[in-house]
């Protein structure tokens, strides 16, 4: 670069926009809450470092992973994955209209927006156990109840993230379609979804992965699943067995993630 004498123009505007009194108060409040929270957390680096040998011991007990029931585990994992697949599929399909209703700018009306948002939040807030109870009394024990629970879970997650992905996309193409006289459906399918697709794929496959991992629910409704196997291993202190199951899940999850990544890479 040349050592050009830096000439200066007219005075630059202020470094920061002066916040309004309200937002200033909000920021201060947030900072105070944070500080107060940090206190309760009883953070201590020395405790963390001193405890590391204990962690190593525990890790040692997980090694080497038990290989005795490998086949069994693989089979259970596949079963779990299949149920997760169905639950997620339904969840994703149902999330699409819900997300449209919950996306600012796409939602047909203000009340619909708030209703859809509340519904999605509700799906997420009610714990899995409660959903599991609901669905067991409704459809009885078995995979169906598990699938329904996973569906609701997925809707609570995908509904929200689909909506946010749709809110975030560039509005240019949407404007173009709207000015061409297209209706809401056309704008969504023609401009919003193609743009939001990579993000939506990521969310969907995350939901699938999540459903597989959190499959303890399936156990609750009597549909078996890898989750209950893992829990049993931990409860019975068979750490090496647990390690094997975790590794198996890891491989599956990493696989799903690679699929997600490959699909997205094609699109981005």
């Amino acid at each position: 670069m040349r050592a050009e004498p830096a000439r200066s123009g007219p005075p630059a505007p202020g470094r920061f926009v002066r916040p309004s009194a309200l937002s200033f108060a909000l920021w201060v409040g947030a900072a105070a809450l944070l500080l107060w929270s940090l206190q309760t957390a009883e953070l201590s680096l020395s405790r963390l470092v001193n405890g590391l040998p204990q962690m190593a011991r525990l890790l040692g007990e997980m090694m080497p992973p038990a290989t005795s029931r490998l086949e069994n585990i693989a089979e259970t994992l596949l079963d779990t994955f299949r149920m997760a697949l169905v639950g997620t599929l339904f969840g994703v399909l149902l999330s699409l209209p819900l997300a449209v209703a919950a996306a600012r700018g796409l939602s047909p009306a203000r009340p619909v927006y708030y209703l859809a948002r509340a519904l999605i939040t509700f799906f997420r807030t009610v714990p899995d156990l409660v959903w599991a109870i609901f669905f067991v009394v409704t459809v009885g024990l078995g995979p169906f109840a598990g699938v329904l629970t996973l569906t609701v879970d997925t809707m609570g997650y995908c509904g929200r993230f689909f909506a946010e992905a749709m809110e975030e996309v560039d509005t240019g193409p949407q404007e173009a379609l709207r000015t061409a006289g297209s209706g809401r459906a056309g704008v969504i399918i023609g401009a919003v979804i193609p743009s939001a697709l990579p993000s939506m794929i990521a969310s969907s496959l995350f939901a699938l992965e999540q459903a597989t991992r959190s499959s303890v629910i399936l156990g609750l409704v009597g549909a078996g699943g890898i989750g209950i196997e893992l829990k049993a291993s931990m409860d019975m202190f068979e750490y090496d067995q647990a390690a094997t199951i975790i590794i198996a899940i890891f491989i599956l999850v990493a696989g799903v993630e690679r699929v997600s990544s490959a699909l997205r890479a094609r699109l981005i």
């Binding site: 240019g172 193409p173 006289g181 459906a185 023609g190």
Partner: protein
Amino acid sequence: MAHLAHQPVGGAVDAPPTVIPLASPTPVLAVDALCKRFGPDLEVLSAVTLSVSRGESVAVIGANGSGKSTLLRCCVRLIEPSAGRVRILDTDVTAARRRVLRRVRQRVGFVFQRHNLVPRLSVLSNVIHGAMGRTGALAWHQGAASPAMRGEAMHCLERVGLAELARRRADQLSGGQSQRVAIARALMQRPEVVLADEPVASLDPSAGAEVMDLFARLMRDEAVTVVFTTHNLEHARQHAGRVVALRGGRVSFDLETARVPFDALGDLYAR
């Protein structure tokens, strides 16, 4: 005639006959005292009044930031005007409910300054999007469109000279190619009015001339009304029947092309 640039002249709906002989009694596009403010002290359009008749071709010129794009966008309510009225094709756009607005927009082809193609879809799909107003959401993708629509879209692409790129993803186009796809999409609407925001800014001279000729043919053969913004005064001179000049959000002049002082527009563009 440089004074013209300073004092708004004619074109206002309340005193049109003296200055511009309107071709037909009911204008295709009538903008009345349109104002647009972004925030409390940024008035981008101030009482813009304008009237365009069927089959007319109007060039809107003005410095960067003078409000040309904002004016066009307000006309189809992509931007909600702060005050004033816009009528297009006998519909009060500013007061229109959603369904009515949709029907008007369908008849107005809009070419965006930034093209606004859907980046991940093919060129052909983007062009077919222009038909969405009349055929519904099925036109979202070339694979779902009817053969007739696909044929028509290819015809539109051919008119802008891009038929061979039909399959290309829209985000892999050059600047000029993407602009021409945007024009083809507007043609696909079978528009009665075309509002084009710097439609040839990225085009090479010959492609630019072709597009301007295309607009001229549309006007002549199909009585399409064309309002376009441009920084190319040569285009304004050759292709517009009338020139509207904006300066700081106000109509600086609104004259038949023959009477525009093209050599003395310094004031219009002065900062």
